[in-house]
Amino acid sequence: MSGRLLRYPFSAVIGERNAKRALQCLLTDDSLNGVLIKGPSGTAKSVLVRSMAGLTDKDIVDLPAGAGDEDIFGGIDFETAVKDGVTQLKGGILQRAHGNILCIDNINLLDPKTLNTVTECISTHTVKIERDGISAEYPCDTTVVATMDPAERELPESIADRFDICVLIVPDTEIRTRSDVIEQDLEFREDPDAFCARFRDEDEGVRKNIERARASVPSIKITRRDINDIVLICNKLHAVGHRGDIACARTARALAALDGGEYITEENIKEASVLCLLHRRKPKTIFNEKADVFIHSTDAEGHERDEEPEISNREIAELARMSREQDKIDQEIQDIVDSVEVSTTEGSDLQPKEIEAIDAEEESIDSERGEIPDVDIVTAMLRDVRTDLAEIDRIEMIHLNKVVGHIPRAALSSDRNGRASGYRIPEGKTKDPALGPTIRAASPYQKIRKPNGLSIVIEPSDIRENIRTKASSCSFMFGLDVSGSLSDTGRLDEAIKAVRAMLEDGYVRRDKVGLITFGQRLVNLAVPLTRNVEAVFDAIEKTETGGSTPLGRALLTLNKYMNNYVRKNPDEQCYIILITDGEADTAVTEGFDAIMELRRICATIKIPNTEWIIIDNGARTRRVNYALKLANYLGGRCIDIRELVG
C-alpha cells in the first residue's frame, strides 16, 4: 500500500513497540542498514512506515511493485534528447531516494532480479546505468524500510541479512487495544486534520528525542565488554555471519542514545539482540518452536555438546583467557570491521574511531561492568532474549521450495500476455512493440531527422519489442504410497501431514496440483492436475489405504499421464513428488520380482521438464534404503520425511 495522501501520525499507531523502536533506531544512526517489518496483512505495517514522515526531514520515497527497471534506476531523458539531440541521464526512484528513506512495500513480491540489483545499489551507495546508449552512475545513499507478509512468500536469506533489523508484528488479541484501533481509524477517516493535530505534540517529542539521540551517538562508547556480551549471544543463537554482531552493537548504541543513556546497558543489548537476530538464527525452520535449541552439535574443538547450549564457566574462562591474550578478540573485531562494506558516508561504520574508543577503554576498565562477561548475567540475558524471540516465533510450515529447491516463478512468455519486464531489438517484424523504449531509442536522432509534420520520427531501426514474463505456475503431481506397510505403522499420517503442508503452499501460490495414490493393489489417478487444490485434499481424505504396493505400475501411470500433460503444456515446469518407502511388492508382470522390475521400469521413464523428488517415508531401521535407490534410478532427489515434518 502506498499511503501518499493519508499520513497517520507515528504516535497514534497503537502497540507495535518493537517496530517503533526499530524505526527510531534507524533514524538515530545512519550507519544502520535498513529495517524489515514482517507481519500478517492488516497490521498497520505500511501505515507505520509512512508515519515516519512526521519524525524526520527526509522524504519517504516509494518503490511501487509495478515499477520497471527504467523507473527504478533511470534511463535516457527523452525530452532533452528530442529537443537538443543530447543523451542525458534521467534518474529514477533510486535517485530520488538519495539522502532520503526508500520504502519498499511487499518486498518479497518484487522480481528477484530487480531486488538483487536494488540491494546491490544500496549497499554500494551507487547506481550504475548501462542502457539506451547511456553509461552513467549516480550516488544513492538511502535508508531502506521494507515490509512483507511472510505468509505470502519468504524473502531470500541473503536479502534479509542485508537488513540490520527485522521485526515481526504480532497480532494483538487484547479487546481493549483492538477497540482503540477501530475508534482511532474511524476518527482519522472522518477528520484527518483534526486527528493529526491531536498527535502533533507527541510526534514532535519523538522527533526531538531522535535529534538529541543522533547528537549523542558518537559519545556513547561500545566497550569491549559490550562486544564480548554481544558476540557470545550471537554465537549462542547461531547468528550467521558477522552482520548480526555489528548490527547488535550499533542498535544497542542507538537504543542507549534514545533512552538518554551515556553507556550501553544490558537492557539495551538484550533489546538489540531481539531486533537484530530474529532473521539471522540458524537453524530456524526445522526445530520450530525450539528454534535455537539444537539437539546435537559439535563445537569448534570437536567436543560433543549437550542439549541445551547454555553458557558454561569453561567458555567464560576461555573468553577471559582470550581476552588476556587479546589477539584473538582483536582478530574478531578486525573481522567484524573488515566485513563491513566500505561506506561513502563519513564515520558511518563501526570504524577505527570506535575501535580507538575501545582501546582507550582498556586502560580504565569500565567501572560498572567488568571486561569479562559474567556467567550469570550473560546466561540470564540469553534466556531473556530467547524467550522474547520464541514469543515472536511462529511455527513455520513446510514450504514447497524447501522440498523442490528454487522454483522458478517467472518464465519468459512467448505471446503478448504477461507483464513487460524489459525490451529488446526484435528479430524481424514484431507483434508487440514497446512504445516507450522505441521512442526513447529514436529521441537522440530527432535533431537530424526530417519531421513529416510529426514531432518525432521513428525509423525501423528504432523499434524495440517487449520482453514479457509470466508469473508461471508450476505443476506438482503428488504420488502417495498408501500401502499397508505405511498405513499400519502410522507413517502414512506423517506423509499426509507433509502433503498437506505442501498443498497449503501450492494453494497460496495458485500452482496446479494433482494426486495419484497407490496401494490396495490399485493405482488411482485420484486428481488430475488442477488449480483446485482443495480437490486433492478431499481426495486424500477419501483414499482407502492398506494392501500391497504396486509402485511399478504407479510409475508407468505417472509416466503416461505426465508425458501427455507436458506435451499440452510445454511451458510448465513440473515436479513429481513421490512419498513412499520405495518398497515395491507387486510387480507389473506377474512372476517378476517387484524390486528388480522397478529398476527396468525406471530406465524406460522419461518426462521432459519434469523433476522427480522422492520423499522417503520408510522405517528408521531397515536393511536397504529403497527410496534412495528409487531416486537414483529415476535421477531424482531423495529427501527424508523427518527432515520436513520435524
Binding site: G66, D71, K90
Partner: protein
C-alpha cells in the same frame, strides 16, 4: 438491463453491495459462487440503484469538488488560483475490468499520440481513472494476473493510483468500490488478497422449487418485453435508490458507542483475526446497515447481521480443512456471551 429489484433471492449479495455503496470505506465485495447464480447480472444491475455524484466538470477523474487536497494534478493546477470549479452531477457507474486488461490499460501509461505529436510526455489515464468514484467490477477475479489484482487492491485501499512507468510519474485519485466475482471451482484467490476485500458473499443457486420457478419465469418475461418488465419494477428500484441516498447522508451523524466497538473487537479475537481490517470493516458495515434501515443508532443486531459478511472469508481455517476451527454460526452465541 435486468432490473436489480427483479432478481430473486440473493439478498445477502444485494445487501453487501448496497452497504458498500453507502460507505465505500467498507472495502469492496468478493462474490463467490458457481456459474449461473446471477453474480454478474446482479452486480451489473446495481447501476440502476446507484446514487448521483457531484464532480468537477470535464475532469477525466471526476474529482470531488469538496476535497481540494485530493484533486488530480490537472485540477490542482487549474484551480490553484482559488477559482471555483464548475460542477456537474451524474450517476455512479459500474465500470468493468476485462480479464485481458494489461497493466498499462489498468493503471494508465504514456500517451503515445502526444509524444509523437508534441515530443512531450503526457499521462494517459487507464481504467483506474474511470473507476474513480464508481464501482469497479472484475468478473472471474481469481483468473486475473496476481500483480494486477495487487494493483487494484492497493488503489482501492488508499484511494490513490500511483503510476511510475515509461518515465512518467503520475498520481491521481482512484477511489472506488471493488467488486470481484469468481467461481471457486477454478481455484481460489491468494488468502492475503482475500483479507483486502471488506466483505465476501458465498452464493448458491436457489434450492427452493417455488423460487426457481420464479427465477425462470421472470427471466422469460424480461426477454419477451424488457421495457415493460423494467417498467414494472421501476418504483421498487427508485425506492432503493432513495433509501441509499438517504442512508449516505444519515451515516455522517451516526456515532458508534464504545460497547459496540468492543463487541466487534471481541468477535475478531474470537474468530482469530490477525490484522485489524476485519474489526474496522465490521463497525463501518454495521453503521451502514443501520443507516440503510433509516436508524441513527447502531445495534448489536446490525453487527450480528453483517459479521458473517466480513468474517467468513477471513477465517483462519486451514485451507483444506472443511471442519474449520470456528463456525460462523457462533457469531450469535459470541455476541450473547460478550
Amino acid at each position: 438491463m435486468f432490473p436489480f429489484t427483479a432478481i430473486v433471492g440473493q439478498e445477502l449479495m444485494k445487501k453487501a453491495l448496497i452497504l458498500n455503496v453507502i460507505d465505500p470505506g467498507i472495502g469492496g465485495v468478493l462474490v463467490k459462487g458457481e456459474k449461473g447464480t446471477a453474480k454478474s447480472t446482479t452486480i451489473r444491475a446495481l447501476e440502476q440503484v446507484l446514487p448521483p455524484v457531484t464532480h468537477i466538470r470535464d475532469c477525466p477523474f471526476r474529482c470531488d469538488p469538496r476535497h481540494p487536497e485530493k484533486y488530480c494534478p490537472y485540477c490542482t493546477e487549474k484551480y490553484s488560483d482559488g477559482k471555483v470549479p464548475e460542477t456537474e452531477t451524474s450517476p455512479m457507474k459500474v465500470v468493468e475490468l476485462p480479464l485481458s486488461a494489461t497493466e498499462d490499460r489498468v493503471a494508465g501509461t504514456l500517451d503515445i499520440e502526444s509524444v509523437l505529436q508534441t515530443g512531450k510526455k503526457k499521462f494517459e489515464p487507464g481504467i483506474l481513472a474511470q473507476a474513480n468514484g464508481n464501482i469497479l467490477y472484475v468478473d472471474e477475479i481469481n483468473l486475473l494476473e496476481d500483480y494486477i489484482v495487487d494493483m487494484l487492491l492497493d488503489s482501492a485501499a488508499m484511494g490513490v493510483n500511483y503510476v511510475e512507468r515509461e518515465g512518467v510519474s503520475f498520481t491521481h485519485p482512484a477511489k472506488f468500490v471493488l467488486v470481484g466475482s469468481m467461481n471457486p471451482e477454478e481455484g481460489d484467490l491468494r488468502p492475503q488478497l482475500l483479507d483486502r476485500f471488506g466483505m465476501s458473499v458465498e452464493i448458491k443457486g436457489e434450492k427452493n422449487l417455488g423460487m426457481r420457478t420464479e427465477v425462470v419465469s421472470r427471466r422469460l418475461e424480461f426477454d419477451l418485453d424488457p421495457y415493460a418488465f423494467t417498467e414494472k419494477y421501476r418504483a421498487d428500484t427508485e425506492e432503493i435508490r432513495e433509501r441509499i441516498v438517504k442512508a449516505k447522508s444519515l451515516i455522517k451523524d451516526i456515532r458508534t458507542d464504545r460497547k459496540l466497538i468492543e463487541a466487534a473487537a471481541y468477535l475478531s479475537v474470537y474468530f482469530g483475526m490477525e490484522g485489524h481490517r476485519a474489526d474496522i470493516t465490521m463497525i463501518r458495515s454495521a453503521r451502514a446497515n443501520a443507516a440503510y434501515a433509516g436508524r441513527t443508532e447502531v445495534t448489536k443486531d446490525d453487527l450480528e447481521e453483517i459479521a458473517p459478511l466480513v468474517l467468513s472469508h477471513r477465517l483462519k481455517k486451514k485451507p483444506f480443512d472443511k471442519t474449520s476451527d470456528y463456525d460462523i454460526q457462533d457469531v450469535h452465541k459470541c455476541l450473547e456471551d460478550f
